[in-house]
Amino acid sequence: MMSPALFLLALITLVPFFSIIWMSFNDVSLMGGLAFEFSGLDNWQRVFTDPDIRSSWLISLVYFLATVGLEMVIGTVMALLVYSLTRGSNIIISLLLIPMFIAPVIVGLLGRFMLDPSHGLYAWMLNESGLFDGNILGSVGSAMVAVILMDVWEWTPLVALIVLAGLTSVPEDVLEAAEMDGARYGQKLLYIILPSISNILLVALLIRAMDAIRFFAIIFITTNGGPADSTKIIPIRLYDIAFRFFDLGYAAAVGITMLVFSIMVATAFTKLLKRQEKAS
């Protein structure tokens, strides 16, 4: 009964999966037709010794910590603020969600437009206020900050939405009981609200973390990894290896390391979630 479906599944997932593993043990060339030349562990040795890969992983780590950290904090604060509204929260939520519905490529284009040194609005404002003058996307440091903020702008609403859903599940009378017990807002937040929504915070973190690891579009459109490789996170590096240098075997090896890393992160999160559920 299931076999046709399983066959289809195998065709679209398992075949590419195993071919990419096979590719990682070969020198793959596209010149004059596809050619595989077995090279043993060469590609894998390069993955673990290439200083460019290591620096890209480091940049990815910084990028990951900054975006996901900011998104979690700002998203939670945003959700708490919206939750405390007594009226108009529906329209506020709709407005807040707009960035999420814009394609990342468009966000990148918007960012490039706003930060353009000759006619960009934000570039002009930063210049006029004396905070920063120069090419924002063209300078090491400021380019990284800019792409991080673009990601935060786009994805914070998602975190806010998830946290908001969690907040509505905190029972009203438990909060009132805490109030009777003498808890001020901060204490209610610390002792009641945050522990109650810790599971949902973990879920939001997991979703954003999985996204951040394979994040690509905004940086590809704005800086494409530059200047001087300062924003070259691992997916951009992978793109370079595969489609600029056409070193497909090596790219396969890098891609597999990314996959393994994603799986490790996801497993860690689900373990955490399970432990939390058991504890409560």
Binding site: D173, E176, E179, M180, D181, G182, S196, S280
Partner: protein
Amino acid sequence: MATLQLNNIVKDFGGTQVIKGVDLEVKDREFVVFVGPSGCGKSTLLRMIAGLESTSDGDILIDGQRINDVGPAERGLAMVFQSYALYPHMTVEDNMGFSLKLAGVSKEERRQKVLEAARTLQLEPLLDRKPKALSGGQRQRVAIGRAIVRNPSIFLFDEPLSNLDAALRVQMRIELARLHDELDATMIYVTHDQIEAMTMADKIVVLQGGVVEQIGSPMELYHHPRNRFVAGFIGSPKMNFMTVEVVDRRGEGVTVRLPGGGVCNVPVGSNHLDVGKNLVLGIRPEHLVLDDQGPLVGVVQVIERLGGSTALYVQMEETEVIALTDGNTAHQVRDKARFGFASSRAHLFGADGLALPSLQRHPLADIYRKDNRTHTETSNY
């Protein structure tokens, strides 16, 4: 140790008044029960006292101090919620000690006070558990324990027993009454269950539509209801009502003609009543007795045999009447039955629903719950 006074309390929810000017005085160490049908405003009133709802008009005084603008925590009250409202991720001990933790009480002192309350409620073996691992009755006790630990001036209970099964409810009722004796604290208790109100209260406040219908001791409400609503609400099964006609008002009491033609003299005050006027006669099911010479006659429609007693649903002309007779009643459905009653047990209500005042006060009308329990102080119930 505190008194509570409500002066003309009003609550407005966006133009709708749900509490329409309530006056009440709660004495020190009194057990006061707010009772009324759903939506009568009893919970809202309690939440206003707790400080969880603002007060639109009027004054709330605790020990003579106006506390309208004081926050819920600073009022020194403790509340037990209908859903228990335990903190789900904290152990029983942390739940009970949370208020002390917030107040900055040291860990040892906190533990000592929690243990003391846990001992009173037999919660000691459960201190390390989380609410999820407790039964309904245990959760209920933890919620009460959390209130005790705060050592509040007044305990507030919002329908605390309504989520428990019937047997547990009876047990907790007794336990709460015992606790009241033991803690010697002022308690205010909200319920829709008139049995809880009758058994636990020193003083019952009957509410309907945001208005106080009557305040009094349980026996006073039972024997001397101020109006038809209170008469119908207190007592189970409900009081029977039938339309009667005044035939004579000379001498003691009022003489009325019953449905079916019988005549009866009810000992109530008869100020400005005209002969021929219609009144409503109220008689409780337990005060109707099977009597072959009785003035009331009807056909039995339904019989509910409870073992110890039998409830007969009897059609008398237009009205259906319930009679609570003894368990050995041999009547069958569609039998004709005659009933009589002691006229001193009957109530008369005017067209405005108010009761005509009884000429004699019932000897038990001023008995209080304390008088039922003086012996419990020495024994462990």
